[in-house]
Amino acid sequence: MRRDSDRERRRGGRVGVAAAIVVFATIAAAFQSFDVARQLARHSPDPFQIQVALLRFSALGSRLPVDAVVGYLSDLPPGDRATLAFLQAQYALAPRLLRPLPAPSRPDWAVGNFSRPLDVRALGAEYGYVVEQDFGNGVVLYRRTGS
């Protein structure tokens, strides 16, 4: 009986050591995980530039009805950059819905989201839109011709 008791005590000691290892290892890992998060936050804040997009489109957004479907024009060729630029604009302008142009039905309004200086009037005219207001920084509000 005493041998059993000793065995249990030894086992309890081993379990205690294992628990201590788990405690120290997991706390150290949690600190490391926090440190990674802190460094990521410091070195690449807002990695998808969503805050920037919200600022770029804030003035334009106030000109549009909140439930509007809005055409979308861009100078970027299809690819990852174009997808991100579209999603940034869509998130910034939601709850309005963006519809890339050309589209079967042309909304009354369209936004231009441009990555470089270009002839925004000519580009809009290609799709049947005129410039309503150029907000600068590659953001343009278009109105459908004849609407």
């Binding site: 008791s5 628990a19 290892a25 940034q88 939601a94 709850p95 819905l97």
Partner: protein
């Protein structure tokens, strides 16, 4: 502020529903009982209110009224259930709670758990401060759709429009279920702004609820020590910590999966009594209402219950699942656009992909990588769990039978493997962008299942603690028999 108060009302309503159902008289400390039921109830209430919110919005109500009525309906139902039925006799849980570890160790584990939780919260805070709108899927799917829903009539339907994301595959997923987006939208609609801290706080809330259920359920079914050990492994893992600030639906899904599995264990201990099965059904259906993978999980839960508990158990499960399941089915069949997305057009194409050994190897490597990336090697959960199992052993034969719940996360991983095998998307891209999150979805449930069958702290030689038949520890039982 009003949005948060309404959500709190729904969470309390969920708690009231659980109290009203009265499953398992609690043998352990009140704070663990309240913590577990509070975590389960909050998830239940918030999930059910999101169902009601979408239905009311669909019925044409103003968005604010839909949010208020949705939340208050759940609160009222919970209050009614609590007041009316909470005193009725409940099934006895076979769990008998007793702290196996010496008090000093228990307090050390509790303190360590609080420290790791604080670090998770701190990591979430710096991540959210730097990137308040979350990662890619947050601003392109979950929060974007929340903005549409919060916009109210008639624009809320853009949340299920095939046009979102510019109609590009993988850009916005209008067919995804709406639990998370609807919950965010409720808060935004009632607060009158679209403050990015709302989805961020909800992401943190679900992470904390997940840990609450993990600790509470293991404390209930086994002992508190094991709950804290599991919580330490979960909260310290890079995979979990890094995803809290991402504001994705994977942690809410992980919560509902863990909660449903915990309730299935409770149901099996109570001879498939109606109350825990109904709660399990409701939580599993809410997993389906969170993400498409949750629908697979829901089907697996039905299959598992049929095998383990029989047809009657499935009917009880169905009774609990019915409200959320009806909303989910209506959403999928009527509202959500049909997307073919990831699957091959013909059986021949699918078979050709399955027959390609290169795909098997690539997916197996992806899985191995996801497991390896859980934590640094010196704190890897597999290593630490193996260490614990080595010194503490495993539970007795009766208890180990409950390890069957591990079949659910295992089957989820197998289903995910099959999807990868046949996906028409570029496999490398698909694995790189989703594999670790699929593991995250099952990660708390795997830890729960693992510690459910793990050995406990050996009872001290001079303490003669009676244990219930459902809380056995093989090594300790052997020791007692010898004595």
């Amino acid at each position: 502020m009003i949005g948060w108060l309404c959500l709190l009302a729904a969470a309390l309503g969920g708690y009231g529903l659980l109290e009203g159902l009265g499953w398992a008289r609690w043998p352990g400390p009140a704070w663990v009982r309240i913590g577990l039921r509070g975590s389960l109830g909050a998830g239940l209430g918030v999930g059910l209110s999101s169902c009601a919110f979408v239905l009311l919005l669909w019925a044409g109500l103003h968005v604010s009224w839909a949010a208020v009525i949705g939340n208050l309906t759940v609160a009222a139902l919970g209050g009614l259930a609590w007041g009316r039925w909470s005193r009725r006799t409940a099934g006895d849980s076979r769990a008998s709670h007793e702290p196996g570890a010496p008090q000093a160790w228990l307090w050390l584990l509790r303190a360590a758990g609080i420290v790791t939780l604080a670090l998770v919260v701190a990591g979430w805070a710096v991540g959210t401060e730097a990137s308040p709108h979350g990662d890619w899927d947050a601003f392109s799917i979950w929060n974007l759709r929340a903005k549409f829903l919060a916009g109210g009539q008639p624009g809320w339907r853009y949340a299920v429009s095939p046009e979102i994301g510019g109609g590009q595959l993988g850009a916005a997923h209008p067919d995804y279920p709406l639990l998370l987006s609807a919950t965010v939208a409720e808060v935004w609609a009632l607060n009158g702004d679209m403050d990015p801290w709302a989805p961020a706080l909800l992401a943190l809330l679900f992470a904390l609820l997940t840990i609450g259920v993990l600790v509470g359920a293991l404390a209930w079914f086994r002992e508190e020590t094991l709950g804290w050990l599991a919580a330490l492994l979960l909260a310290s893992s890079e995979l979990f910590g890094s995803q809290v600030a991402a504001q994705y639906a994977d942690i809410p899904l992980a919560f509902y999966m863990l909660a449903a599995v915990a309730m299935l264990v409770a149901a099996s201990r109570e001879q498939w009594a109606p109350a825990p099965l109904m709660v399990a059904g409701a939580l599993a259906a809410l997993a389906g209402w969170t993400k498409n993978e949750g629908i697979v999980f829901l089907v697996l839960v039905f299959g598992w219950t049929l095998i383990r508990g029989g047809v009657r158990a499935v009917l009880k499960l169905m009774a609990g699942a019915a409200p959320a399941l009806l909303v989910l089915a209506t959403f999928k069949l009527v509202l959500a656009p049909l997307t073919v997305g990831l699957f091959p057009a013909t059986a021949a194409e699918a078979l050709a992909k399955i027959a390609d050994p290169g795909r098997w190897i690539m997916i197996a490597r992806g899985y191995a990588r996801a497991v390896w990336d859980l934590s640094p090697w010196w704190a890897h959960p597999v290593l630490l769990f193996a260490l614990w199992a080595w010194v503490a052993g495993f539970a007795d034969r009766q208890q180990r039978k409950e390890g069957w719940v591990l079949a659910l996360p295992a089957a989820m991983l197998a289903a995910d493997f099959l999807v990868y095998l046949v996906t028409v998307a570029d496999l490398r891209w698909h694995l790189d962008t989703s594999c670790n999150r699929l593991w995250l979805q099952v990660w708390p449930t795997l830890l729960f299942g693992g510690f459910l069958i793990a050995g406990t702290w050996p009872a001290s030689a001079d303490a003669d603690i009676p244990r219930g038949p459902g809380s056995g520890d093989r090594a300790a039982d052997r020791g007692r028999r010898r004595r």
